[in-house]
Amino acid sequence: MSARPLVHALRDPATVTGLDESGWNALIAMARAERLIGTLAHRIGDRPVPQAVRAILTDALTDAEREARQALWEADRAAEALAPLDGPVILLKGTAYAAASLSAAQGRFIGDLDILVPRDALPMVEQALFAAGWEWVKSDPYDDAYYRQWMHELPPLIHASRDRIIDVHHTVLPLTARQTPDAAAMIADAVPLPNGLAILSPEDRICHSVAHLLADGDMQGGLRNLWDIHCLLDGADDRRLAQRAARHGLARHVRQAQRLAAALYGDGARLTLWDRIVIARLLARDGWGRERRKLLVFAFYIRSHWLRMPPAMLAHHLFTKWRKGHRPA
Protein backbone atom coordinates (compact mmCIF):
# COMPACT_ATOMS: atom_id res chain seq x y z
CA MET A 1 0.00 0.00 0.00
CA SER A 2 1.41 3.42 -1.00
CA ALA A 3 0.09 6.91 -1.69
CA ARG A 4 -0.63 5.98 -5.30
CA PRO A 5 -4.46 6.18 -4.84
CA LEU A 6 -4.00 9.82 -3.81
CA VAL A 7 -1.89 10.55 -6.88
CA HIS A 8 -4.50 8.87 -9.12
CA ALA A 9 -7.36 10.83 -7.55
CA LEU A 10 -5.54 14.14 -8.04
CA ARG A 11 -4.56 13.31 -11.63
CA ASP A 12 -7.96 11.96 -12.64
CA PRO A 13 -10.67 12.92 -10.08
CA ALA A 14 -13.39 11.13 -12.09
CA THR A 15 -11.94 7.79 -10.94
CA VAL A 16 -12.97 8.41 -7.31
CA THR A 17 -16.62 7.59 -8.05
CA GLY A 18 -15.56 3.93 -8.25
CA LEU A 19 -14.13 3.82 -4.72
CA ASP A 20 -15.72 1.60 -2.04
CA GLU A 21 -15.95 2.62 1.63
CA SER A 22 -12.50 1.30 2.64
CA GLY A 23 -11.07 2.95 -0.49
CA TRP A 24 -12.49 6.28 0.62
CA ASN A 25 -11.16 5.86 4.19
CA ALA A 26 -7.68 5.21 2.84
CA LEU A 27 -7.80 8.10 0.33
CA ILE A 28 -9.01 10.58 2.98
CA ALA A 29 -6.42 9.46 5.57
CA MET A 30 -3.46 9.76 3.17
CA ALA A 31 -4.76 13.06 1.72
CA ARG A 32 -4.92 14.49 5.25
CA ALA A 33 -1.48 13.15 6.15
CA GLU A 34 0.00 14.78 3.02
CA ARG A 35 -2.03 17.96 3.67
CA LEU A 36 -3.66 17.61 0.26
CA ILE A 37 -7.26 17.08 1.48
CA GLY A 38 -8.23 20.64 0.41
CA THR A 39 -6.63 20.22 -3.01
CA LEU A 40 -8.34 16.83 -3.42
CA ALA A 41 -11.72 18.35 -2.44
CA HIS A 42 -11.20 21.07 -5.02
CA ARG A 43 -10.22 18.59 -7.74
CA ILE A 44 -13.27 16.37 -7.02
CA GLY A 45 -15.52 19.43 -7.16
CA ASP A 46 -19.20 18.47 -7.23
CA ARG A 47 -18.80 15.02 -8.76
CA PRO A 48 -21.13 12.48 -7.04
CA VAL A 49 -19.59 11.05 -3.88
CA PRO A 50 -21.11 9.30 -0.84
CA GLN A 51 -22.88 11.67 1.57
CA ALA A 52 -20.35 10.97 4.34
CA VAL A 53 -17.52 11.95 1.98
CA ARG A 54 -19.30 15.11 0.81
CA ALA A 55 -19.37 16.39 4.44
CA ILE A 56 -15.63 15.73 4.81
CA LEU A 57 -14.77 17.47 1.51
CA THR A 58 -16.96 20.46 2.42
CA ASP A 59 -15.11 20.82 5.74
CA ALA A 60 -11.80 20.67 3.85
CA LEU A 61 -12.83 23.44 1.44
CA THR A 62 -14.00 25.64 4.33
CA ASP A 63 -10.67 25.14 6.06
CA ALA A 64 -8.73 25.90 2.86
CA GLU A 65 -10.72 29.09 2.29
CA ARG A 66 -10.06 30.31 5.86
CA GLU A 67 -6.41 29.26 5.52
CA ALA A 68 -6.01 31.40 2.38
CA ARG A 69 -7.73 34.41 3.99
CA GLN A 70 -5.49 34.21 7.08
CA ALA A 71 -2.39 33.80 4.90
CA LEU A 72 -3.27 36.90 2.85
CA TRP A 73 -3.94 38.82 6.07
CA GLU A 74 -0.53 37.83 7.38
CA ALA A 75 1.01 39.09 4.12
CA ASP A 76 -0.94 42.33 4.57
CA ARG A 77 0.47 42.76 8.10
CA ALA A 78 3.98 42.08 6.83
CA ALA A 79 3.51 44.60 4.02
CA GLU A 80 2.33 47.16 6.60
CA ALA A 81 5.28 46.50 8.91
CA LEU A 82 7.89 46.59 6.11
CA ALA A 83 6.39 49.45 4.06
CA PRO A 84 8.76 52.09 5.57
CA LEU A 85 11.77 50.12 4.25
CA ASP A 86 10.59 50.56 0.62
CA GLY A 87 12.96 47.74 -0.48
CA PRO A 88 11.59 44.73 -2.38
CA VAL A 89 9.64 42.18 -0.28
CA ILE A 90 8.73 39.06 -2.25
CA LEU A 91 6.11 36.49 -1.22
CA LEU A 92 7.10 32.85 -1.70
CA LYS A 93 5.30 29.47 -1.92
CA GLY A 94 1.64 29.13 -0.81
CA THR A 95 1.02 32.73 0.15
CA ALA A 96 2.39 33.90 -3.22
CA TYR A 97 0.12 31.48 -5.10
CA ALA A 98 -2.88 32.72 -3.06
CA ALA A 99 -1.93 36.41 -3.53
CA ALA A 100 -1.78 35.90 -7.34
CA SER A 101 -4.76 33.45 -7.22
CA LEU A 102 -2.83 30.82 -9.15
CA SER A 103 -4.28 27.34 -9.72
CA ALA A 104 -1.68 25.96 -7.32
CA ALA A 105 -3.45 27.84 -4.52
CA GLN A 106 -6.84 26.17 -4.92
CA GLY A 107 -7.63 24.22 -1.75
CA ARG A 108 -3.98 24.45 -0.67
CA PHE A 109 -2.87 24.23 2.96
CA ILE A 110 -0.60 27.28 3.45
CA GLY A 111 0.78 27.49 7.00
CA ASP A 112 3.74 29.85 7.49
CA LEU A 113 4.42 33.09 5.60
CA ASP A 114 7.65 32.94 3.57
CA ILE A 115 9.20 36.14 2.20
CA LEU A 116 12.41 36.86 0.24
CA VAL A 117 14.35 40.09 0.81
CA PRO A 118 17.83 41.25 -0.31
CA ARG A 119 20.49 40.00 2.08
CA ASP A 120 21.67 43.49 3.06
CA ALA A 121 18.11 44.44 4.04
CA LEU A 122 17.96 41.69 6.70
CA PRO A 123 18.88 43.85 9.74
CA MET A 124 16.26 46.51 8.89
CA VAL A 125 13.63 43.85 8.11
CA GLU A 126 14.34 42.11 11.41
CA GLN A 127 14.04 45.39 13.32
CA ALA A 128 10.80 46.40 11.57
CA LEU A 129 9.22 43.01 12.28
CA PHE A 130 10.25 43.21 15.94
CA ALA A 131 8.74 46.69 16.18
CA ALA A 132 5.47 45.35 14.71
CA GLY A 133 5.09 42.57 17.32
CA TRP A 134 6.97 39.55 15.90
CA GLU A 135 9.44 37.71 18.19
CA TRP A 136 11.77 34.71 17.88
CA VAL A 137 9.92 31.39 17.92
CA LYS A 138 12.63 30.03 20.21
CA SER A 139 15.47 32.09 21.51
CA ASP A 140 18.43 29.72 21.37
CA PRO A 141 21.79 31.44 20.76
CA TYR A 142 23.29 28.43 18.93
CA ASP A 143 20.36 28.21 16.50
CA ASP A 144 20.55 31.94 16.05
CA ALA A 145 24.26 31.98 15.11
CA TYR A 146 23.87 28.87 12.92
CA TYR A 147 20.97 30.40 11.01
CA ARG A 148 22.71 33.70 10.50
CA GLN A 149 25.94 32.18 9.27
CA TRP A 150 24.89 29.25 7.11
CA MET A 151 21.22 29.27 6.42
CA HIS A 152 19.32 30.99 3.64
CA GLU A 153 16.89 32.52 6.12
CA LEU A 154 16.52 34.22 9.51
CA PRO A 155 15.42 32.00 12.41
CA PRO A 156 11.59 31.81 12.30
CA LEU A 157 9.63 34.64 13.95
CA ILE A 158 6.14 34.33 15.44
CA HIS A 159 3.66 37.19 15.88
CA ALA A 160 2.80 37.63 19.56
CA SER A 161 -0.97 38.00 19.18
CA ARG A 162 -1.73 36.17 15.93
CA ASP A 163 0.42 33.05 16.55
CA ARG A 164 1.47 33.07 12.87
CA ILE A 165 5.05 32.31 11.85
CA ILE A 166 7.09 34.27 9.27
CA ASP A 167 10.27 32.92 7.63
CA VAL A 168 12.47 35.67 6.14
CA HIS A 169 14.73 34.33 3.34
CA HIS A 170 17.61 36.20 1.68
CA THR A 171 18.41 33.52 -0.87
CA VAL A 172 16.88 30.29 -2.10
CA LEU A 173 19.15 27.55 -0.80
CA PRO A 174 21.45 27.39 2.25
CA LEU A 175 24.71 29.20 1.52
CA THR A 176 26.57 25.94 1.80
CA ALA A 177 24.40 24.06 -0.73
CA ARG A 178 26.05 22.88 -3.92
CA GLN A 179 23.78 24.95 -6.11
CA THR A 180 23.85 28.75 -5.74
CA PRO A 181 20.69 30.16 -7.35
CA ASP A 182 20.94 33.84 -8.30
CA ALA A 183 18.68 35.41 -5.64
CA ALA A 184 19.48 38.93 -6.87
CA ALA A 185 18.16 38.06 -10.35
CA MET A 186 15.02 36.57 -8.78
CA ILE A 187 14.46 39.76 -6.79
CA ALA A 188 15.14 41.96 -9.82
CA ASP A 189 12.61 40.10 -12.00
CA ALA A 190 9.91 39.89 -9.33
CA VAL A 191 6.34 40.82 -10.35
CA PRO A 192 4.85 43.63 -8.15
CA LEU A 193 1.45 43.19 -6.43
CA PRO A 194 -1.01 46.00 -5.58
CA ASN A 195 -0.22 45.90 -1.83
CA GLY A 196 3.44 46.85 -2.30
CA LEU A 197 4.71 43.26 -2.08
CA ALA A 198 5.76 41.17 -5.07
CA ILE A 199 5.92 37.54 -6.25
CA LEU A 200 8.57 35.74 -8.30
CA SER A 201 8.36 35.59 -12.09
CA PRO A 202 6.62 32.47 -13.46
CA GLU A 203 9.94 30.78 -14.26
CA ASP A 204 11.55 31.70 -10.93
CA ARG A 205 8.51 30.40 -9.05
CA ILE A 206 9.11 27.00 -10.63
CA CYS A 207 12.87 27.10 -9.98
CA HIS A 208 12.30 28.06 -6.34
CA SER A 209 9.74 25.28 -5.78
CA VAL A 210 12.01 22.73 -7.51
CA ALA A 211 15.02 23.85 -5.45
CA HIS A 212 12.99 23.39 -2.26
CA LEU A 213 11.86 19.89 -3.32
CA LEU A 214 14.90 18.37 -4.97
CA ALA A 215 17.98 20.38 -3.99
CA ASP A 216 17.33 21.03 -0.32
CA GLY A 217 14.54 19.28 1.46
CA ASP A 218 14.15 15.78 2.85
CA MET A 219 10.94 15.72 0.76
CA GLN A 220 8.59 15.99 3.71
CA GLY A 221 5.33 17.07 2.05
CA GLY A 222 6.87 16.26 -1.32
CA LEU A 223 3.59 15.23 -2.99
CA ARG A 224 2.15 18.66 -2.15
CA ASN A 225 5.31 20.40 -3.35
CA LEU A 226 5.24 18.40 -6.59
CA TRP A 227 1.55 19.23 -7.10
CA ASP A 228 2.50 22.94 -6.85
CA ILE A 229 5.15 22.38 -9.52
CA HIS A 230 2.65 20.48 -11.71
CA CYS A 231 0.26 23.47 -11.53
CA LEU A 232 3.04 26.05 -12.06
CA LEU A 233 4.38 24.14 -15.12
CA ASP A 234 0.95 24.40 -16.76
CA GLY A 235 1.35 27.16 -19.36
CA ALA A 236 5.03 27.82 -18.53
CA ASP A 237 7.33 28.80 -21.41
CA ASP A 238 9.71 25.81 -21.62
CA ARG A 239 12.48 27.69 -23.37
CA ARG A 240 12.57 30.56 -20.86
CA LEU A 241 12.25 28.07 -17.99
CA ALA A 242 15.25 26.04 -19.23
CA GLN A 243 17.31 29.24 -19.61
CA ARG A 244 16.36 30.46 -16.13
CA ALA A 245 17.02 27.04 -14.57
CA ALA A 246 20.49 26.97 -16.15
CA ARG A 247 21.21 30.42 -14.74
CA HIS A 248 20.34 29.18 -11.25
CA GLY A 249 22.33 25.98 -11.68
CA LEU A 250 19.09 24.01 -11.37
CA ALA A 251 18.69 22.75 -14.96
CA ARG A 252 19.06 19.08 -13.98
CA HIS A 253 16.66 19.46 -11.06
CA VAL A 254 14.00 21.26 -13.14
CA ARG A 255 14.15 18.55 -15.83
CA GLN A 256 13.75 15.88 -13.12
CA ALA A 257 10.81 17.77 -11.60
CA GLN A 258 9.15 17.92 -15.03
CA ARG A 259 9.53 14.15 -15.40
CA LEU A 260 8.24 13.45 -11.87
CA ALA A 261 5.23 15.78 -12.27
CA ALA A 262 4.36 14.23 -15.64
CA ALA A 263 4.78 10.70 -14.26
CA LEU A 264 2.61 11.22 -11.16
CA TYR A 265 0.15 13.94 -12.13
CA GLY A 266 0.45 14.19 -15.93
CA ASP A 267 0.55 11.95 -18.98
CA GLY A 268 3.59 9.92 -17.93
CA ALA A 269 7.35 10.22 -18.61
CA ARG A 270 10.47 8.08 -19.12
CA LEU A 271 12.02 7.81 -15.67
CA THR A 272 15.64 7.26 -14.59
CA LEU A 273 16.56 4.97 -11.67
CA TRP A 274 17.04 8.04 -9.43
CA ASP A 275 13.58 9.28 -10.48
CA ARG A 276 12.10 5.97 -9.32
CA ILE A 277 13.87 6.16 -5.95
CA VAL A 278 12.56 9.68 -5.41
CA ILE A 279 9.03 8.55 -6.36
CA ALA A 280 9.30 5.60 -3.96
CA ARG A 281 10.13 8.09 -1.17
CA LEU A 282 7.28 10.47 -2.21
CA LEU A 283 4.73 7.62 -2.12
CA ALA A 284 5.84 6.35 1.33
CA ARG A 285 2.37 6.79 2.93
CA ASP A 286 -0.31 4.13 3.63
CA GLY A 287 -4.11 4.09 3.89
CA TRP A 288 -3.94 4.80 7.62
CA GLY A 289 -1.94 7.96 7.01
CA ARG A 290 1.23 6.36 8.39
CA GLU A 291 4.65 7.03 6.92
CA ARG A 292 6.10 3.80 5.41
CA ARG A 293 9.54 2.77 4.04
CA LYS A 294 11.19 4.18 7.16
CA LEU A 295 14.79 3.44 6.04
CA LEU A 296 14.30 5.16 2.67
CA VAL A 297 12.73 8.18 4.40
CA PHE A 298 15.63 8.31 6.89
CA ALA A 299 18.12 8.13 4.03
CA PHE A 300 16.53 11.21 2.45
CA TYR A 301 16.60 12.95 5.87
CA ILE A 302 20.36 12.41 6.09
CA ARG A 303 20.71 13.49 2.45
CA SER A 304 18.95 16.79 3.23
CA HIS A 305 21.53 17.60 5.90
CA TRP A 306 24.35 16.46 3.60
CA LEU A 307 23.14 18.79 0.89
CA ARG A 308 23.07 21.68 3.32
CA MET A 309 26.59 21.51 4.68
CA PRO A 310 30.00 19.90 4.20
CA PRO A 311 30.56 16.67 6.22
CA ALA A 312 32.79 18.17 8.94
CA MET A 313 30.29 20.86 9.79
CA LEU A 314 27.43 18.33 9.57
CA ALA A 315 29.10 16.22 12.27
CA HIS A 316 29.65 19.26 14.49
CA HIS A 317 26.06 20.44 13.96
CA LEU A 318 24.52 17.07 14.74
CA PHE A 319 26.80 16.64 17.78
CA THR A 320 25.80 20.04 19.19
CA LYS A 321 22.13 19.36 18.56
CA TRP A 322 22.45 15.92 20.18
CA ARG A 323 24.30 17.34 23.20
CA LYS A 324 21.57 19.95 23.69
CA GLY A 325 19.00 17.18 23.63
CA HIS A 326 17.26 18.47 20.50
CA ARG A 327 14.99 15.78 19.05
CA PRO A 328 14.31 16.23 15.33
CA ALA A 329 10.79 17.67 15.11
Partner: protein
Protein backbone atom coordinates in the same frame (compact mmCIF):
# COMPACT_ATOMS: atom_id res chain seq x y z
CA UNK B 1 -3.39 -1.85 10.92
CA UNK B 2 -3.69 -5.22 12.63
CA UNK B 3 -6.94 -4.47 14.49
CA UNK B 4 -9.71 -2.05 13.55
CA UNK B 5 -13.06 -0.82 14.93
CA UNK B 6 -15.61 1.71 13.63
CA UNK B 7 -17.70 3.66 16.16
CA UNK B 8 -20.46 6.25 15.77
CA UNK B 9 -20.75 8.82 18.62
CA UNK B 10 -23.28 11.62 18.11
CA UNK B 11 -22.84 12.92 14.52
CA UNK B 12 -19.21 11.72 14.20
CA UNK B 13 -17.88 8.38 12.91
CA UNK B 14 -14.43 7.16 14.01
CA UNK B 15 -12.19 4.50 12.46
CA UNK B 16 -9.81 3.30 15.18
CA UNK B 17 -6.75 1.25 14.22
CA UNK B 18 -4.63 -0.45 16.86
CA UNK B 19 -1.48 -2.58 17.00
CA UNK B 20 -3.12 -4.50 19.87
CA UNK B 21 -6.52 -6.25 20.20
CA UNK B 22 -7.23 -5.47 23.85
CA UNK B 23 -8.20 -1.76 23.70
CA UNK B 24 -10.57 -2.36 20.77
CA UNK B 25 -12.20 -5.35 22.48
CA UNK B 26 -12.85 -3.21 25.58
CA UNK B 27 -14.28 -0.42 23.41
CA UNK B 28 -16.49 -2.80 21.44
CA UNK B 29 -17.94 -4.23 24.66
CA UNK B 30 -18.66 -0.83 26.23
CA UNK B 31 -20.07 0.67 23.00
CA UNK B 32 -22.15 -2.46 22.20
CA UNK B 33 -25.50 -0.69 22.73
CA UNK B 34 -24.60 2.27 20.50
CA UNK B 35 -26.43 2.39 17.14
CA UNK B 36 -24.22 1.09 14.31
CA UNK B 37 -23.03 4.00 12.11
CA UNK B 38 -24.85 3.95 8.74
CA UNK B 39 -21.63 3.11 6.86
CA UNK B 40 -17.97 2.62 7.62
CA UNK B 41 -16.74 5.85 5.96
CA UNK B 42 -15.09 7.60 8.91
CA UNK B 43 -14.97 11.31 9.70
CA UNK B 44 -11.72 10.63 11.55
CA UNK B 45 -9.00 8.02 11.72
CA UNK B 46 -7.47 7.32 15.15
CA UNK B 47 -4.26 5.28 15.49
CA UNK B 48 -2.97 3.50 18.59
CA UNK B 49 0.55 2.60 17.55
CA UNK B 50 3.69 1.47 19.39
CA UNK B 51 5.58 4.43 20.92
CA UNK B 52 8.86 2.99 19.66
CA UNK B 53 10.22 0.21 17.48
CA UNK B 54 10.48 -2.31 20.32
CA UNK B 55 7.46 -0.99 22.19
CA UNK B 56 5.11 -3.35 20.33
CA UNK B 57 6.08 -6.22 22.62
CA UNK B 58 8.66 -5.04 25.15
CA UNK B 59 6.76 -3.15 27.91
CA UNK B 60 4.24 -2.10 25.23
CA UNK B 61 3.40 1.60 25.26
CA UNK B 62 0.92 3.41 23.05
CA UNK B 63 1.48 6.59 21.03
CA UNK B 64 -1.91 8.19 20.32
CA UNK B 65 -2.22 9.80 16.87
CA UNK B 66 -4.40 9.82 13.75
CA UNK B 67 -5.53 12.42 11.21
CA UNK B 68 -4.50 14.95 13.86
CA UNK B 69 -1.72 14.21 16.29
CA UNK B 70 0.46 15.80 18.95
CA UNK B 71 4.18 15.26 18.37
CA UNK B 72 4.88 15.44 22.08
CA UNK B 73 1.84 13.48 23.34
CA UNK B 74 2.93 11.36 26.29
CA UNK B 75 2.98 7.61 25.53
CA UNK B 76 0.55 5.52 27.61
CA UNK B 77 0.81 1.96 28.90
CA UNK B 78 -1.18 -0.73 27.11
CA UNK B 79 -3.10 -1.30 30.37
CA UNK B 80 -4.63 2.14 29.76
CA UNK B 81 -5.47 1.35 26.14
CA UNK B 82 -9.16 2.13 26.61
CA UNK B 83 -8.31 5.62 27.86
CA UNK B 84 -5.84 6.07 25.00
CA UNK B 85 -8.58 5.28 22.46
CA UNK B 86 -10.96 7.76 24.18
CA UNK B 87 -8.30 10.48 24.16
CA UNK B 88 -7.51 9.71 20.52
CA UNK B 89 -11.15 10.31 19.55
CA UNK B 90 -11.31 13.49 21.67
CA UNK B 91 -8.13 14.74 19.97
CA UNK B 92 -9.65 14.34 16.48
CA UNK B 93 -12.91 16.06 17.50
CA UNK B 94 -11.07 18.90 19.20
CA UNK B 95 -8.78 19.60 16.24
CA UNK B 96 -10.86 18.51 13.28
CA UNK B 97 -14.61 18.95 13.87
CA UNK B 98 -16.18 21.77 11.81
CA UNK B 99 -19.92 21.00 11.63
CA UNK B 100 -20.75 22.53 15.02
CA UNK B 101 -19.13 25.00 17.38
CA UNK B 102 -17.36 22.60 19.76
CA UNK B 103 -17.56 23.55 23.45
CA UNK B 104 -15.45 21.72 26.00
CA UNK B 105 -18.53 21.31 28.20
CA UNK B 106 -20.92 18.68 29.52
CA UNK B 107 -24.66 18.91 28.81
CA UNK B 108 -27.89 17.29 29.98
CA UNK B 109 -31.46 17.66 28.75
CA UNK B 110 -34.88 17.79 30.43
CA UNK B 111 -38.25 18.50 28.76
CA UNK B 112 -36.58 19.48 25.50
CA UNK B 113 -34.18 22.06 26.98
CA UNK B 114 -30.46 21.74 27.53
CA UNK B 115 -28.31 22.67 30.53
CA UNK B 116 -24.66 23.30 29.52
CA UNK B 117 -21.83 23.14 32.08
CA UNK B 118 -18.31 24.27 31.26
CA UNK B 119 -15.14 24.56 33.35
CA UNK B 120 -11.53 23.45 33.45
CA UNK B 121 -10.74 19.77 33.91
CA UNK B 122 -11.38 18.84 37.52
CA UNK B 123 -14.21 21.34 37.99
CA UNK B 124 -16.58 18.43 38.52
CA UNK B 125 -18.61 18.96 35.33
CA UNK B 126 -18.38 15.31 34.19
CA UNK B 127 -19.37 13.92 37.56
CA UNK B 128 -22.26 16.37 37.90
CA UNK B 129 -23.52 15.50 34.41
CA UNK B 130 -23.27 11.76 35.19
CA UNK B 131 -25.19 12.20 38.45
CA UNK B 132 -27.92 14.24 36.75
CA UNK B 133 -28.02 11.53 34.07
CA UNK B 134 -28.98 9.04 36.80
CA UNK B 135 -31.65 11.40 38.21
CA UNK B 136 -34.16 11.84 35.36
CA UNK B 137 -32.06 14.10 33.10
CA UNK B 138 -30.88 12.82 29.70
CA UNK B 139 -27.09 12.85 29.52
CA UNK B 140 -26.06 14.51 26.22
CA UNK B 141 -22.31 14.43 26.81
CA UNK B 142 -19.66 14.92 29.49
CA UNK B 143 -16.77 16.22 27.33
CA UNK B 144 -18.08 18.08 24.26
CA UNK B 145 -21.31 20.03 23.66
CA UNK B 146 -22.02 20.66 19.95
CA UNK B 147 -23.61 24.07 19.22
CA UNK B 148 -25.47 24.04 15.88
CA UNK B 149 -24.24 26.92 13.73
CA UNK B 150 -27.62 27.62 12.12
CA UNK B 151 -30.26 26.81 14.75
CA UNK B 152 -28.37 27.46 18.02
CA UNK B 153 -29.50 24.04 19.32
CA UNK B 154 -27.14 21.88 21.42
CA UNK B 155 -26.45 18.40 20.00
CA UNK B 156 -25.17 15.42 21.97
CA UNK B 157 -21.75 13.78 21.88
CA UNK B 158 -22.52 10.95 24.34
CA UNK B 159 -19.13 9.27 24.61
CA UNK B 160 -18.37 7.04 27.65
CA UNK B 161 -18.27 9.29 30.74
CA UNK B 162 -14.71 9.29 32.17
CA UNK B 163 -14.90 9.31 35.98
CA UNK B 164 -11.78 10.24 37.92
CA UNK B 165 -10.66 9.23 41.40
CA UNK B 166 -13.32 10.10 44.06
CA UNK B 167 -16.07 10.38 41.44
CA UNK B 168 -15.70 6.65 40.68
CA UNK B 169 -17.16 5.58 44.03
CA UNK B 170 -19.85 8.27 43.95
CA UNK B 171 -21.21 7.04 40.60
CA UNK B 172 -20.50 3.34 41.20
CA UNK B 173 -23.01 3.63 44.04
CA UNK B 174 -25.71 4.86 41.67
CA UNK B 175 -25.13 3.04 38.38
CA UNK B 176 -25.45 -0.74 37.76
CA UNK B 177 -22.11 -2.61 37.50
CA UNK B 178 -22.69 -3.67 33.87
CA UNK B 179 -22.57 0.00 32.84
CA UNK B 180 -19.18 0.55 34.53
CA UNK B 181 -15.95 0.02 32.56
CA UNK B 182 -12.74 -1.53 33.96
CA UNK B 183 -10.75 0.36 36.62
CA UNK B 184 -7.72 1.98 34.94
CA UNK B 185 -5.43 2.58 37.92
CA UNK B 186 -2.46 5.00 37.97
CA UNK B 187 -3.07 6.88 34.73
CA UNK B 188 -1.48 10.32 34.32
CA UNK B 189 -4.67 11.74 35.83
CA UNK B 190 -5.16 9.23 38.62
CA UNK B 191 -7.61 6.32 38.65
CA UNK B 192 -10.24 6.31 35.90
CA UNK B 193 -13.36 4.23 35.22
CA UNK B 194 -15.75 4.76 32.35
CA UNK B 195 -19.53 4.90 32.72
CA UNK B 196 -21.74 3.84 29.81
CA UNK B 197 -24.61 6.34 29.38
CA UNK B 198 -28.14 5.01 29.97
CA UNK B 199 -29.79 3.20 27.04
CA UNK B 200 -32.37 5.97 26.46
CA UNK B 201 -29.63 8.63 26.33
CA UNK B 202 -27.73 6.55 23.76
CA UNK B 203 -30.88 5.96 21.69
CA UNK B 204 -31.59 9.74 21.65
CA UNK B 205 -28.01 10.76 20.68
CA UNK B 206 -29.31 12.30 17.44
CA UNK B 207 -31.79 14.62 19.17
CA UNK B 208 -30.74 18.23 19.95
CA UNK B 209 -32.22 20.54 22.58
CA UNK B 210 -32.65 24.31 22.97
CA UNK B 211 -29.99 25.64 25.45
CA UNK B 212 -31.77 27.18 28.46
CA UNK B 213 -28.90 27.74 30.93
CA UNK B 214 -25.10 27.80 31.12
CA UNK B 215 -23.38 26.95 34.40
CA UNK B 216 -19.73 27.33 35.43
CA UNK B 217 -19.49 24.68 38.16
CA UNK B 218 -16.57 24.60 40.57
CA UNK B 219 -15.80 22.34 43.49
CA UNK B 220 -15.42 24.80 46.37
CA UNK B 221 -15.39 24.98 50.19
CA UNK B 222 -18.93 26.35 50.46
CA UNK B 223 -22.00 26.72 48.24
CA UNK B 224 -22.03 30.01 46.30
CA UNK B 225 -23.99 31.35 43.33
CA UNK B 226 -22.89 34.26 41.11
CA UNK B 227 -24.27 35.79 37.93
CA UNK B 228 -21.71 36.01 35.10
CA UNK B 229 -21.53 38.98 32.72
CA UNK B 230 -21.92 38.34 29.01
CA UNK B 231 -18.41 39.64 28.30
CA UNK B 232 -16.91 37.11 30.70
CA UNK B 233 -19.13 34.32 29.34
CA UNK B 234 -18.04 35.08 25.78
CA UNK B 235 -14.37 35.21 26.76
CA UNK B 236 -14.54 31.93 28.68
CA UNK B 237 -16.45 30.13 25.94
CA UNK B 238 -13.83 31.11 23.33
CA UNK B 239 -11.29 29.48 25.69
CA UNK B 240 -13.53 26.43 26.08
CA UNK B 241 -13.92 26.04 22.30
CA UNK B 242 -11.21 24.31 20.29
CA UNK B 243 -12.66 25.28 16.88
CA UNK B 244 -14.01 28.81 17.47
CA UNK B 245 -11.21 30.46 15.45
CA UNK B 246 -11.30 27.78 12.75
CA UNK B 247 -15.04 28.34 12.12
CA UNK B 248 -14.60 32.05 11.29
CA UNK B 249 -17.73 34.22 11.04
CA UNK B 250 -20.29 31.40 11.50
CA UNK B 251 -18.54 30.66 14.80
CA UNK B 252 -18.83 34.32 15.85
CA UNK B 253 -22.54 34.41 14.93
CA UNK B 254 -23.32 31.16 16.75
CA UNK B 255 -21.41 32.11 19.92
CA UNK B 256 -22.83 35.65 20.13
CA UNK B 257 -26.36 34.27 19.65
CA UNK B 258 -25.71 31.79 22.51
CA UNK B 259 -24.17 34.40 24.84
CA UNK B 260 -26.92 36.97 24.32
CA UNK B 261 -29.77 34.47 24.72
CA UNK B 262 -28.67 31.96 27.39
CA UNK B 263 -28.49 33.10 31.05
CA UNK B 264 -25.25 32.09 32.84
CA UNK B 265 -24.43 31.38 36.48
CA UNK B 266 -21.24 30.37 38.30
CA UNK B 267 -21.82 27.91 41.14
CA UNK B 268 -19.37 26.74 43.79
CA UNK B 269 -20.41 23.56 45.53
CA UNK B 270 -18.91 21.57 48.44
CA UNK B 271 -20.59 18.28 47.42
CA UNK B 272 -22.36 16.57 44.53
CA UNK B 273 -25.70 16.68 46.35
CA UNK B 274 -25.34 20.42 47.00
CA UNK B 275 -24.56 20.92 43.30
CA UNK B 276 -27.59 18.91 42.21
CA UNK B 277 -29.84 20.89 44.58
CA UNK B 278 -28.49 24.20 43.22
CA UNK B 279 -28.95 23.08 39.60
CA UNK B 280 -32.51 21.83 40.17
CA UNK B 281 -33.40 25.09 41.93
CA UNK B 282 -31.95 27.28 39.18
CA UNK B 283 -33.66 25.14 36.53
CA UNK B 284 -37.08 25.48 38.23
CA UNK B 285 -36.71 29.28 38.30
CA UNK B 286 -36.28 29.41 34.48
CA UNK B 287 -39.16 31.26 32.74
Amino acid sequence: MRHQLTLGIGPATFRIGSAWRQPLDQLARLYADYPQPSGTIADFTVRLQPAGFTRRWLRPSIFITGDHGLADAAPMSLAHGLLAAEMGMNLQMALGWRRHLLLHASSVERDGRALVMTGESGSGKSTLAAQLGERGWRLMGDEFALLDLDTGMIFPFPRLVSLKNRAIDVIAGEAPPERMGPLLAGTAKGDIRHLVPRADAIAAMGQGARPAMLIFPRFGPEAELRAVGQGEVFMRLTQASTNYVALGEPGFAALTRFVTSVPARAIDFPSGDAAIAMVEQLWDQLP
